[in-house]
Symmetry: C2
Subunit: 215 residues, 2 copies
DNA sequence: GGGCATTTACTTGTTGCAAACAAGTAATAT
DNA sequence: ATATTACTTGTTTGCAACAAGTAAATGCCC
């Protein structure tokens, strides 16, 4: 029997099936989070608006925390990859300035996935949602990257050697968080957020550049 | 009939009754938010753990958003009052440094109310929870205060006159938000958060002080 | 390669619980 | 004594969570 025409075409492996339903539900969830917030995003809706049954999201992710963790992982990994592509082999101050520019670009692109990602980011602040650990890790990785850039800049001589690396890296990450917060709070973006990123760059230059007025 | 002995002692006005139940439920809600997060805080529990019925919180605040708005108003007003007391008649750089120190003190005191306040602050980031507007207003007021300090510092001559006031004020507020975020994320506070505040002060000094290396 | 057992993907049925509101009772005010 | 305000209890609705079912894909022995 090789006359199974129609059925043959829509036969997919199990891996493909889950990959597809994961992807569709991811998209749906992102749209819902951006539109209604985390509290207004119901697992039921996630499954149904992805074209499946009301129960699939529950079954796949277990609960809301599981769904949110999945989203943060998916988007966060992409994001970190794109960021390190933007920085490439740079180090020291150029790396930090490139990262800041890249961040600005991500934010003004205003892709729903970035917005949803950061909504979840801030949402996870409460106590012991497994999500909190995931995000704390992303945060640590980010800070470690910045520290590495600064240290590399010191050895290659484009950053002055008397800075407190850890402290500057934390300051940088804290500023990014603050900028993102403002972006999510007031939706009219553009110029405003641009200025915040430019200010952050100036601040990093004055903290790290060689020709500084360190008394 | 003036033999109403016992009853006479516990007679309160209606205003006193609501004031007391408001206060008790406020405390309960703060404890619950810190312990279980916003999603895990049920109106039912707020009423009951304050010594009332399961329905009172619903009745008084309407819904969860109403409760959260009430908390942000209560704590936020106290907070702004304490902050402006710490700054007093200072202006310019001294005002900003004093505000930063005061903020550090509030945070390390780690009073539950501050923690709950900021948890709600970050929680309100999603779309159009009436709470978002409340918090956007607090945020605006805060930024306006900082701008006013800087401007006053310029006229009284302790801040250099070529700074972009608005931009610096936003940078400052963004940094504060970022610091608070880190505080909520990693609970071991002390030294770490202290350093972040000190770094912010240094940054503001380099942005605003008169004897600067503006090329 | 074809048919049967196993595993994996997804759906539907059910329970429990909280939010929201309605209708009641108790306390204070006029 | 009546009206108003504070609070409680009853009821509905809707989602999350899980259990038990069906459908699709895979492994296996021939």
């Amino acid at each position: 029997m090789f006359a199974v025409s129609a059925e043959e075409t829509l036969r997919r492996t199990q891996a493909e099936r889950t990959a597809q339903s994961d992807a569709l539900m991811l998209q749906s969830a992102i749209r819902l989070i951006v539109a209604r917030g985390t509290a207004g995003t119901h697992l039921k809706d996630v499954g149904e608006s992805a074209g499946y049954s009301r129960g699939l999201a529950s079954y796949r992710f277990g609960n809301k925390a599981g769904l949110f963790t999945f989203i943060v992982h998916s988007v966060g990994d992409d994001w970190l990859r794109e960021l390190s592509a933007a920085v490439r082999e740079k180090n020291g101050l150029p790396a930090i300035l490139a990262a800041t520019d890249a961040h600005y670009r991500f934010v003004v692109e205003a892709a729903d996935r970035i917005r949803a990602f950061y909504i979840l980011w801030f949402d996870s602040i409460g106590p012991d949602t497994g999500l909190k650990n995931v995000i704390a890790n992303v945060h640590q990785r980010r800070r470690a990257d910045v520290e590495a850039w600064i240290r590399a800049g010191i050895t290659s001589g484009n950053v002055r050697s008397d800075v407190d690396v850890r402290s500057i890296a934390e300051q940088f990450c804290a500023s990014i968080i603050g900028i993102v917060y403002q972006w999510l709070l007031i939706s009219r973006v553009e110029k405003h957020i641009f200025e915040l990123h430019e200010g952050l760059k100036r601040q990093m230059i004055s903290a790290l550049a060689l020709n500084s007025n360190k008394s």
